[in-house]
């Protein structure tokens, strides 16, 4: 494999890891607050649809982004209503929302565009443009570092950079601010938060809204950055992969970046090398495509060491008598 190819694979790794990373951080906020969110998939999907649809209708990718975020936050709020206010089962609520998103997106798409449940292909201002970082052209000639800067670091859409910046931002919020302290506490021991005079419900809703917002970014990037439009079930399990990455990362932001890049790399390799030859044995493309999912199963089965989830995760908070 030559240097240029390597750079291309890594470049595509970053692109493919971006929606995973945003969804993973979304899940991190939600689960750190004690609300298990299996509905990342559905939120991404609904955001993907509305951002593509609105971008197609208005011709503005920014309007699309706004619509994506709003739809995702609304869906998140529904999850909050079911699992925080009405103390329902968080897994069931999440699964229900995934089904809702899967059906609703295709239904509305068909109604609005009549293209078999997809949106029209986006063009021009309907898609995110690649940003060329300063001096990228000039520095391109510098050996090794130049191409790395030009190919790998420069030339992504703004959401990729936003996603990457979200990692240190999440870390800082979580471990350096009052809100972060309370958020972590409410996922571990909501009764401690409650007796300290802080609202458990308020904190969990705040986390849910952040989760919706980040899922909105993830979905928008999927439909208006990575691809040019919405197609049925386009998230293809990315929400679940993000959950696996979250567990793999032990609910920590920097580890989440690493985990998502690993999944992104597997996807990038599968895209680039359809059939790999190992001295006579050909590994078929299906195996390559399945790799991220196989890794997901391996992680979820607990083969990568013990990950201790937030202690109050999945349990609605009820004051004890």
């Amino acid at each position: 494999m030559d240097f240029a190819t390597l750079l291309q694979v890594l470049d595509s790794t970053v692109r493919l890891a971006t929606p995973l990373l945003l969804a993973c951080l979304a899940g991190l906020f939600s689960e750190r607050s004690g609300v298990i969110d299996i509905g990342l998939e559905g939120k991404m999907l609904i955001a993907a649809f509305f951002s593509a649809a609105i971008a197609a209708l208005t011709g503005s990718v920014w309007m699309g982004l706004g619509a994506g975020i709003v739809s995702s936050v609304l869906l998140s709020g529904l999850h909050g209503l079911a699992s925080i206010t009405f103390r329902g089962n968080q897994l069931i609520s999440g699964v229900a929302l995934n089904f809702l998103a899967a059906g609703l997106t295709v239904l509305i798409a068909q109604d609005w565009f009549s293209q078999g449940g997809r949106t029209p292909s986006l063009m021009g201002a309907g898609r995110w443009e690649a940003i060329t970082l300063p001096f990228a052209e000039t520095l391109r000639a510098v050996p090794v570092l130049g191409p790395i800067y030009y190919e790998l670091i420069s030339g992504h859409s703004i959401l990729v950079y936003v996603a990457l910046l979200c990692v240190p931002a999440t870390w800082w919020v979580l471990f350096r601010t009052r809100f972060g302290l309370r958020l972590r506490a409410v996922g571990e021991a909501p009764e401690a938060v409650d007796t300290a005079g802080v609202s458990v419900v308020g904190l969990r809703y705040a986390a849910i809204v952040i989760c919706g917002l980040l899922c909105g970014l993830a979905g928008s990037y999927l439909a208006t950055g990575l691809q040019a439009g919405f197609v049925k079930d386009m998230t293809a399990g990315r929400g679940y992969i993000a959950l696996a990455a979250l567990i793999f990362a032990k609910w920590r932001p920097w580890y989440a970046l690493m985990a998502c890049l690993l999944f992104g790399l597997l996807q990038a390799v599968a895209l680039r090398y359809q059939n790999i030859d190992f001295g006579g044995i050909t590994i078929p493309v299906q195996v390559m495509d399945a790799l991220p999912y196989i890794l997901t199963v391996v992680i979820l089965a607990g083969f990568v060491g013990r990950a201790i989830p937030p202690r109050a995760g999945g349990e609605p908070y009820v004051k004890e008598r």
Binding site: T177, R178, L181, A185, A189, D194, G197, R311
Partner: protein, 534 residues
């Protein structure tokens, strides 16, 4: 009475949960700078009253005055603002946070943590010096012993500048020495002018530390008296509403042949922590061996291994026959067939199925006995009538075998379990926490039943965290600490202090340095217990 306004005054507080009247027209005055005890049986409404004071529940009627001023306390925030701090029975701590983080949680000074943490560090140091409340501020709470975790709770309240401190059953989880230390801290706090409300069901503590005591019974405040002007007998009567025997009458034991021999018992739990580290003892017919210790030192595991629901290594012989400690034939039913009855520590989870009726519960573990079978089916009619008889003999109220276990009070639930195990006439009876959550009246009955069983020549292994109970019943006392038996004593030849030190793993009397010696041993234990992180 002095002219100063009471620190806390409650007037006509009432609170009902559905049909249950938890608090009925309660009025109480707590004077500043005193320790005011509130005593009552389980379910008397003590905790509900304090939860109202701390803003956890809203009273249906009544008024609260803090320092003479009428105050509304709709939530914990308001209670904290009014200068009320609460130390709950079950600590409200975030286990994987450090002491500092726990202390500032909810009382941060700004949006960023760093300045709050720095300030708290200084305040904690000062509080440590002032009241003898020293804890490592950077230690994660999960690595601290229970006594230290309790100090963190007190520090939390003091950090929020509480003038009134409510402690709910604070000594339940402490060794006697730790409890003494806590009382010294409370003494210091009182000397500094803080007001303390101490909720407990232990008469000894009330007599030892309080200035005034209020007694609650069935949701009502039955009396408030000066501690100096009362005695335990009178308080017990006020609590129960009739005369009670605080002492158990029993003749000296007449031990017979050795029934149960335990040798080098070892058990490692699912987290990889060794909970039993070589336990050996003999148990003879007609005696009660009491196992004392603070909860979490292996007593539960010992009972569960002998009762057949944990596997272990070592040797256990019943009447000379070895019992398998793992694999087939080591389960609870096999143990019962062999002649070991078991009254588990947690009757609601291990002793009973709460959603099942009393008669169904009366047969668990013995349900395959021929007498309970009718062909391939259970002989329900026979089981039911037998259950009715047992319930009558054990004075279970109401004596209705068709009621669900959940509908009986704690004491009556315990009697159902006891009846089931005792009436099977086992050679050995394992009893864990026989009177936990049981009211005084039922305690008397249960204690007498245990003594009667002993006098009938049965071997009894009693595990209890209540030292008074161990003293009242045991013919020999073994003290467990950190998975080992630290020593065996004759109850007539020992005292609370000696046992208290053994319970903290200190075998030689350290004299003045008792607290330091205890702290060292407890820390050692917590460090060993840390699960290996992957």
């Amino acid at each position: 009475m002095t002219d100063t306004a009471p620190a806390i005054e409650l007037k006509g507080i009432s609170k009902a949960f559905g049909p249950v009247q938890a608090n009925k027209d309660i009025s109480i005055r707590v004077m500043p700078g005193t320790i005011h005890g509130i005593i009552g049986e389980n379910g008397a409404g003590k905790s509900t009253l304090m939860s109202i004071l701390y803003g956890f529940y809203k009273a249906d009627a009544g008024e609260i005055f803090v320092a003479g001023k009428k105050t509304e306390i709709p939530d914990s925030q308001a209670a904290i603002a009014a200068g009320i701090g609460m130390v709950f029975q079950h600590f409200k701590l975030v286990q994987n946070f450090t002491v500092l983080e726990n202390v500032i949680l909810g009382a941060e000074d700004g949006r960023l943590l760093r300045p709050s943490l720095a300030k708290a560090r200084g305040v904690l140091k000062q509080l440590a010096e002032e009241y003898g409340l020293s804890v490592d501020p950077d230690a994660p709470v999960e690595t601290l012993s229970v006594g230290h975790q309790q100090r963190v709770e007190i520090l939390k309240a003091l950090y929020r500048q509480a003038d009134i401190l409510i402690l709910d059953e604070p000594t339940g989880v402490l060794t006697p020495a730790e409890a003494d230390h806590l009382f010294r801290i409370l003494d210091n706090l009182r000397a500094e002018g803080k007001t303390i409300i101490l909720i407990t069901h232990k008469l000894r503590e009330i007599m030892e530390i309080t200035d005034t005591v209020s007694v609650m019974r069935r949701g009502q405040m039955t009396a408030t008296v000066k501690t100096a002007e009362t005695d335990p007998q009178q308080l017990a009567e006020l609590m129960v509403g009739r005369k009670v025997l605080l002492q158990v009458d029993k003749a000296p034991a007449q031990p017979g042949a050795t029934v149960l021999e335990v040798e080098n018992l070892r058990h490692v739990d699912a987290d990889g922590v060794e909970r039993l580290r070589g336990i050996s003892f003999d148990l003879r017919a007609g005696e009660i061996l009491g196992v004392a210790g603070v909860a979490g030192n292996g007593q539960s595991e010992l009972l569960e291994v002998l009762g057949g629901y944990r596997e272990a290594t070592g040797n256990v012989r019943l009447n000379g026959t070895p019992l398998p400690l793992s694999g087939p034939g080591s389960d609870g039913r096999a143990r019962r067939v062999a002649g070991i009855g078991h009254v588990p520590e947690d009757r609601q989870r291990e002793g009973l199925i709460m959603a099942y009726t009393a008669w169904e519960n009366s047969v668990f573990g013995y349900h395959r006995d021929p007498g309970n079978q009718s062909g391939a089916l259970m002989n329900n009619a026979a089981i039911k009538s037998e259950a009715a008889g047992k319930m009558e003999r054990f004075d279970v109220r109401p004596p209705n075998p068709n009621l669900k276990a959940a509908n009986f009070s704690g004491g009556n639930q315990q009697k159902i379990v006891l009846a089931r195990e005792i009436e099977r006439n086992p050679d050995v009876l394992l009893i864990g926490q026989p009177t936990r959550g049981v009211d005084i009246g039922a305690i008397e009955f249960i204690h007498q039943e245990i003594i009667r069983l002993r006098d009938a020549g049965k071997a009894i292994l009693l595990v209890s965290v209540e030292l008074d109970e161990i003293f009242a019943l045991s013919d020999r006392i073994a003290v467990m600490f950190d998975g080992r038996i630290m020593g065996e004593r004759d109850p007539s030849q020992t005292d609370q202090r000696e046992l208290g030190l053994l319970m903290a793993g200190v075998t030689e009397d350290p004299g003045e340095n008792a607290i330091a010696a205890i702290d060292a041993r407890l820390e050692e234990k917590e460090n060993r217990k840390q699960p290996r992180h992957g």
